[in-house]
Amino acid sequence: MLALNALAGETPTSLIQAGGWFLEKAWIIPALPAISFVLILFFGKRMKYKGAEFGIISIAVAFIFAICCVGQWIGQVNNADSYTEKQEYHDGEKHSDEADHHETLSDEIYRTSSTEEGPAPSEDMTVLAVAEGGDGSGSVGIKPVVERFTWWESGGRAFQVGIMVDGLAVLMLFVVTAVSLLVHIYSTEYVAGDRRYTHYFAFLSLFSASMLFFVLSENVLQAIVGWELVGVCSFALIGHWWEEKPNSDAALKAFLTNRVGDMGLLIGMSILFWSAGSWSIIDINNAAINHDIGHSTLLIASLCLTAAVMSKSGQFILHTWLPDAMAGPTPVSALIHAATMVVAGIYMVARLYGVFFEGFDIAGSSFNVLAVVGSVTLVGAGLLAFVQDDIKKVLAYSTVSQLGYMVMALGVGAWTAAVFHLFTHAFFKAGLFLGAGSVSHSVHSFDMKKSMGGMRKFMPTTYKTFVVCTIALMGLPPLAGFWSKDEILVGTGGWGLFGGTGGNGTYVFALVMGIIGAALTCAYMTRVIYLTFFGEFRGDTHGHGDPHESGKRITIPLIILAVMATGAGFLNFPVGFLTGSKAGWQERFGHYVEPVATYFPPIAHGTPSWSLAIFSTVVALTGVSAAAYYYFVKVNAQSPAATELTNGLTEKNKAAKAGHTLLKQKYYLDHLYTDIIANGTKGPVADATYWTNQKGIDEAVNQVGKQTARAANFVYEKIDQNIVDGVVNLSGKASEGLGETTRTIIQRGKIHQYAAIMFAATTILAGLLIVFV
């Protein structure tokens, strides 16, 4: 089947151009929330619902638009599938006589755009041609919809703004608009009566617009703009209640930690620009895949971009901002720090996958930076989630851990798995966060140990949706998490022992960490469920009676998300799972999302393995049962209101206690950043620099000035005064002396003397005249 062949990691031999009204007008999707942002800023306070209606309407329309885009894209892919031998040639553009399949998009784009410097800088539809193909037996790829217009030109280069719509972009459009819409609706109840309600919705709209803008970026410059914009919105929304210092500190921490990674982003993008000669994502990918860029350049660029991913997507060691970001309102955490913004890093890697694939030599190795970073993150964060009392912090570490999964997946070459996990994770993590928000909304606190317990009696809907999402997170079949996590594990390619190979390399380390992470996830989520929903209620409702279920606007989004968490997994059945007539349902997700184009590297796909699936499920269940035993049996036996065993392991065992402290201190990373690095720079380094400046640099300059002044003084005194003026004065004095002498001799006033001299002179002259003449 052509469709499956297209996924076999080959570069397509023929391409058709995707088109469609919604796809070409996809820039409307970010524009709607942007307009809503402006409207809310100007008119929000006067509106009946304080601006929330702008936000909800705009995002709802955007969501519908996104669904239309999805539909159209699916149609385009189906068109490509039915193309067998028909190939279309572009008219008007003469190619050179090369029958090279790898007619790069970049050349065409350059040619067409360079001939289109018309007076109107409006969008131009660059209708791109089909490469001259072979005999039609190869795979048919789809060129994404690319629209752009030149913003300005400088230095011979044109800076363009545009959109690139392909499967991945369409997927992200759907996810962002869906989760944003649910969060908007949820927020109307959650932050009702807040001191800055309108402001909140304004920034929610701005964030949605920024994220959608980022997702649709056609070139890396635009992506950087979008990246920074979402960072700013995150800062604003985390610090929504900035009057309390911890909140503003958290916002600053988020922004500044992201800044550290952004340096890597800028350097990496610059390297790519200079080596590929273009800002366009497609061009960069093409250049990377076709080996137009040197390998070490790609490696350095990939490392720089990995730093950006580490900060934005909360990988070790720049993850410290994510748990602190929970200081923001819960819907914000759900939208930004679970479903959308933190996946910006994942998205960026997925977009520029050609660079990473070539730069890190993902194919055929067993170890690379992305995989290691992801693996370490997922286990490290998983461990940290055990010692948190705040329910949101647990979920935050869980997010970090799941992001580690995605990064690891990208590192091992399981592109589709990573993106699929992104898709499913968005839904169940948002559901978990919103559920936590629902619980805390009724008990007005996030502390599980102090304020929660036995909530299933009070909040059944929340309880059920929370449990559903948890099971999805744990990766137990048949819920969504199972399918996506399993595909990641398959993609590592390290399961050759048990049958099932393929993949891009043999990343055994990644596989091991992934399995351990799965166990940890199950364990800490079980802990959360026990502490929150079981046992006795430990909280204090301040005389409001028992906590009660939240309103419809909270519970309905929860239900929707739970449904998505259940069903999303079915979009990507692994190959070989279904047989017979249902085989066409396999890999639907991957089929539509994974690009088949020249700008996507030829990645290999792992063969799914039943044994791995069973093994991972068993591991997950082991984790669940261990934690369940600990909590449901032993702690409950101690007391229904207890939260932990009093004579537990950490009390008895010193090593365990040390480990516990290490986890509590978050591996001392915050200590490192704040005390050692920041204070060290503020203190000794700054002082040393200041001293160098004052004593070294300024002193040198001052000395130069002083020496010059002294030299000038010397010249003035010794040379000018004494010598030069001396000469002048001497001549004057000589004349004076001569005059004096002459005067005393000659001009004494004696007339006789005058006469005598006169006569004598005359005589002598006459004598001379007579004698000589």
């Binding site: 005067r743 001009q747 006033g749 004696k750 006789h752 006469a755």
Partner: protein, 99 residues
Amino acid sequence: MLLVQFLLLSSVLFCIGVYGVLARKNGVMVLMSIELILNAVNINLVAFGTMTNNIAGEVFALFVIAIAAAEVGVGLAIVLLIFRNRNSVDLSSMDSMKG
């Protein structure tokens, strides 16, 4: 008669007159010495005139006489004035032009 004897005579008188001008302290004596000089010149002139048979020599000598007379008049007037102001005609003490 040789011309040269007159000329020598005239030069002797002239030199004596110069000596007198330079060596005499009294103003009037100086004037007398000047007369000596002028007369020596007159002899010279007339001798040359006779030698060349030209009347211009004598005419010149006449004019010299006339001018000498005028000069003595004015000179004496000045000496008188000096005497009136300084009460002495001692020329060696008339050094207010010193310097």
